[in-house]
């Protein structure tokens, strides 16, 4: 099988072009541009085209010729009927196809505006989601039989119980590192015993909730977004709707409730692991006895700190689940949107948690400090 061949000769004062071989995508010589240039050059001379020796022509070959001819039939053309139909098909391609995309001069203004509008819309939708969940809660008070127990316990298990090992491990290691680094500093002042105050306050009040929030956002938040998103892609959400099952009641409410309950417990668990890690490290580094550490802890860390930690856990858990579900519902039915929304959900959740944590710190600055409140 020969690839595309062009032969030209001058007869009776006119240029005769004979094409032969296979004019198909698989057999066209590369680069195609040289072939096209040659064809265009021949077209310029008002040639007689003889295509009857072509063995096969597909749409690539046909478009190539049609373009070379300047989208007109040449003055004289000889071709087999079947090849002619391929050319005729190429001739029917619409000309005004693509709405050419204009380049905006102030593109960044549009981008910025788009971002702000999107943020506003997300905010509004999350508020609407919260409202819907409140309505659901009211509905459940009226119809306690409809409480989604199975979904609730499944979520509690997945985002709570299954997160115990990783939160304990991370908490413990942070405790060890923090205690080790602080004890180096404290020793130089001879203030060894303040390690208890330092670790107690920072881990229980601040680090525990934030660490757990970051872990849970990455673990459960992403899973929730992906789950709801895939349900959109596979039309399971629509199937639920046609069965008259409220997706907010059956999918979102149990997730938000489960995470709001599981997170405070995880915070306590993680903080405990962190304190133990710090205690072990302090014992090894400075010879502080376990007995002293345990005895001193409740004396120097007001119990209000535990409540602040638990309260943060509750709020962070609720926010993470809300944000994850919100972005899950925003997934459009394609894979790209699924991955983009999952990323956005996790990043937004972590950012919002940190912001809310700062607000918490401001509001509670007089509470739970030794000597202060």
């Amino acid at each position: 099988m020969a690839s595309a061949v062009i032969e030209s000769s001058k007869r009776e004062g006119r240029l005769h072009v004979t094409l032969s071989g296979d004019w198909t995508l698989a057999r066209l010589p590369t680069p195609i541009a040289t072939l096209e240039d040659r064809l265009q050059e021949l077209t310029a001379n008002d040639a007689v085209w003889d295509l009857s020796a072509i063995s096969r022509i597909d749409s690539v070959g046909a478009i190539l010729l049609w373009r070379a001819w300047g989208r007109r039939w040449p003055g004289s053309l000889e071709a087999l009927a079947s090849h002619r139909s391929a050319l005729e098909r190429a001739a029917t391609i619409p000309m005004d196809r693509r709405s050419s995309q204009r380049k905006e001069r102030f593109a960044w203004v549009y981008v910025l505006g788009g971002l702000i509008l999107a943020a506003g819309k997300n905010m509004r939708d999350i508020v609407a989601l919260i409202g819907q969940l409140l309505l659901d809660t009211g509905h459940l008070f009226a119809h306690p039989g409809e409480f989604p127990w199975r979904e609730f316990s499944a979520n509690l298990f997945k985002s709570g119980a299954q997160a115990l090992p990783v939160t304990a491990l991370v908490g413990f290691l942070i405790g060890v590192v923090l205690s080790f680094l602080s004890s180096l500093q404290l020793k130089t002042f001879g203030a060894d015993i303040y390690i208890v105050n330092l670790l107690g306050i920072s881990i229980i009040r601040e680090l525990g909730p934030v660490i757990v929030a970051v872990l849970v956002a990455g673990r459960s938040g992403s899973a929730m977004t992906a789950q709801i998103g895939v349900m959109r892609v596979t039309q399971e959400l629509d199937a639920l709707a046609t069965m008259g099952i409220s997706r907010s009641l059956r999918l979102i409410f149990p997730k938000v409730l489960a995470l709001s309950l599981a997170m405070p417990l995880l915070v306590v668990w993680c903080a405990a692991a962190g304190i133990i890690g710090g205690m072990v490290s302090a014992n090894l580094e400075m010879g502080l006895s376990y007995g002293y550490f345990i005895d001193a802890l409740p004396k120097v860390v007001p119990v209000a700190n535990v409540w602040i930690g638990i309260g943060k856990g509750f709020f962070f858990g609720m926010l993470i689940a809300l944000i994850a579900c919100h972005f899950g519902l925003k997934v459009r039915p394609n894979t790209e949107s699924l991955s983009a929304k999952t990323t956005t959900a996790v990043v937004t959740a972590i950012t919002v948690v940190i912001i809310v944590d700062a607000i918490f710190a401001l509001l509670t600055r007089n509470v739970g400090m030794p000597g202060g409140g």
């Binding site: 690539v60 391609i93 619409p94 039915p333």
Partner: protein, 259 residues
Amino acid sequence: MSASDVQAIEVRGLSTRFGETVIHRDVDLDVEVGQMLGLVGGSGSGKTTLLRAIVGLLVPNKGSVKLFGESVFDADPTIRRNLRRRFGMLFQQGALFSALSVYDNIAFPLRELRVLDEDMISELVYLKLGMVELEPRHAQLMPAELSGGMIKRVALARALSLEPELLVLDEPTAGLDPDLADNFVKLIRMLQKELGFTVVMVTHDLETLAGLATRVAVLAEQRIIACGTPAEVLAVDHPFIRNFFCSEHAGAVMQKGIV
């Protein structure tokens, strides 16, 4: 034309199983260039699995598959790649890339070739769209915005985009309403006449079979129990064939198709 002594598809002694379940036992199948073979069989009889083995998505437990005289599992990657460009597959569910628009779905295999300029690709895409009777304005839609029939058409356009010599269709008309199915059959028949490709298709639908297939293969009891022209297959005496073709309605459809 390809050398006529080479078969488009040559399956020899193919056996496949999933775990303990045997799906195919010693299946032989030949499809000549330019034929349109309809593969029929009960639900779960392994039709899709056979297609997957033919196009090299599944390694058979035993036996060999050759397309145009070459193995899809050839040791030479260039042969494998060139072979894979010679056939197009239409999946049962369309399998369009959900993140790409209709335009980009069809352009995707063309861009992968890296020999065509973007202008040419654009012309080809609109040509293929026209071939499957879609409008230029549909090009910017996303797969999720398409109806079932449109998904099949776009998938067909994508399967056709590399000008395949072999078209593998898995239930091309399943889930389409009779009118659309009819149009689809006409479309494939017209394209086949013009482009001369070989077709292998799985179908449950007798109308599609009667309208397209020049040959019929029947898959039952883990092997091909009959393969030949529709008339030859109808003459085979086997409970499945009697059931499948010889209900009153089916008989009428097939007779109409054969004539």
